[in-house]
């Protein structure tokens, strides 16, 4: 695969004695949506959390292998983790806005990274909310508490919050699992929009969602990457019997 944004090489992750990711090699393209699917416990979330080194926050975790972002090592001892986590935004399963105003939720990251203040910060907030397809709905109530937003709006706020620190990569862990169909449709449209400017990786249990939003699909099973290719190909003609059985609902 030419034009690689994230290059995962021989990645292994353990939690204590449990070997969760087993020798995964994967090249992820920029400005595309890559979906990671597989049965519960197969290592999907651990795989994407390895990209921004979030697994290290879990006591007893151990990682070997390498991940390169734009050919820069993620696991080098010189890596600035603070900068890494600015570069790699994360959106979680359940919307998790801060108990602050809509404005403050977005401004929090840029302030922390000392990126802007005053009018410049206002511009970042507006741009990020527009990027999160939320601006039109909240522009007249930016001082409202974020908890007053609906679940779907809260999730788009979290996406906008991730955009505010100008990342290159956005990781999404089941971003629509807590949303109703209408809110899910909005977030899915947003994901496609984001792919124009960002590298998006989405973990999902929803196969149809993977088929709808992604350009590439990876299928994991018991910590191994079993199948990886263009979404159209994987959903029309999977190469592995395991992937065929999983996506046709014959197991998992």
């Amino acid at each position: 695969m030419n034009n690689v944004k994230i290059d995962i090489q021989g990645l292994n992750v353990w939690f204590g004695s449990k070997h969760v990711i087993k020798d995964v090699n994967m090249k992820i393209k920029p400005n595309a949506v890559t979906a990671v699917m597989g049965p519960s416990g197969c290592g999907k979330t651990t795989l994407i959390r390895a990209i921004d080194r979030l697994n290290e926050l879990i006591r007893g975790s151990k990682t070997t292998g390498e991940i390169y972002i734009d050919k820069e090592s993620v696991y080098s001892k010189d890596t600035d983790i603070f900068e890494l986590r600015r570069l790699v935004g994360m959106v979680f399963q359940k919307p998790n806005p801060f108990p602050k105003s809509i404005y403050e939720n977005i401004a929090f990251g840029p302030k922390l990274h000392k990126m802007a203040s005053g009018e410049e910060l206002d511009a970042i907030v507006e741009k990020s909310l527009k990027g999160g397809a939320l601006w039109d709905e909240v522009k007249d109530r930016l001082t409202d508490n974020a908890f007053n937003l609906s679940g779907g709006q809260q999730q788009r706020l979290c996406i906008a919050r991730a955009l505010a620190v100008e990342p290159d990569i956005i990781l999404m862990d089941e971003p629509c699992s807590a949303l109703d169909p209408a809110a899910t449709a909005k977030v899915e449209s947003l994901i496609r929009e984001l792919a124009k400017n960002y590298t998006v990786i989405i973990v999902t249990h929803n196969l149809q969602q993977a088929a709808r939003v992604s350009d590439f699909t990876a299928f994991m099973y018991v910590g191994q990457l079993v199948e990886y290719g263009s979404t159209n190909r994987v959903f029309e003609k999977p190469e592995s019997e395991l992937a065929e059985q999983y996506i046709t609902g014959k197991f998992g």
Partner: protein, 212 residues
């Protein structure tokens, strides 16, 4: 545990198999009528209408399964291919009726079939292809389906040889016209058997190939 989709797929499969059986019967009936100088137009028309109605039912069932279960991979390939195959079987039935109708309308029923030397051979080859297409479907047998390509070449050669003979025929212009049209209908049936074959290969392997 049986998937809900499996129940629907089983029903769809039975519908397509049945359509194939009726289509094969329609072709055999029309060919026998043609060879034996019998008017079977109405009986073939009934079968053709039945196949047409079954095609609509198959499409409806396929849409129902797509809407309800959003199938992917081999499930999706089967549903998509069955819709195509149902249409090809509808064409089998329609050409069968065309043969009977043309024969009745244009020809002296008991004389035209034997007025073209190559016609029995053409009929034999096309009948073989129809049977093979229905059998390959039942077994999802890609290898058997692929053999349709060779017979298709033979049918094309026979068809062009028929045209050559007919262009040189003298007298009995109704028979010439009848044989011209019937040989054309047979050649088109052979084409549709290859479409069925291509769909079977796609179901079985995911490969999109041409058998023509």
């Amino acid at each position: 545990m049986t998937r809900l989709l499996d129940v629907g797929l089983e029903q769809l499969t039975m519908m397509v198999y049945k359509s194939g059986e009726v289509a094969e019967s329609a072709i055999n009936m029309s060919i026998r009528g043609f060879m034996n100088g019998k008017d079977v137009t109405e009986a073939v028309r009934e079968l053709s209408d039945i196949i047409g109605a079954m095609t609509v039912e198959i499409e409806n069932k396929a849409f129902e399964l797509i809407v309800k279960y959003q199938p992917v991979a081999s499930d999706l390939r089967i549903i998509n291919s069955y819709m195509k195959i149902a249409y090809d079987f509808e064409r089998y039935g329609r050409y069968a009726w065309d043969i009977s109708f043309t024969h009745k309308k244009l020809a002296d029923l008991d004389e035209c079939a034997v007025s073209l030397d190559l016609m029995p051979k053409l009929i034999e080859k096309v009948s073989e292809m129809v049977s093979k297409s229905v059998e390959a479907l039942r077994e999802h047998d890609a290898e058997l389906a692929k053999t349709l390509a060779d017979t298709e070449i033979e049918v094309d050669e026979l068809y062009f040889a028929c045209l050559d003979q007919l262009s040189k025929a003298r007298g009995r212009s109704k028979c010439v016209t009848c044989n011209l049209l019937v040989s054309r209908y047979l050649e088109r049936i052979a084409d549709h058997t290859t479409y069925v074959g291509e769909a079977i290969v796609y179901i079985a392997t995911g490969e999109k190939i041409s058998l023509r």
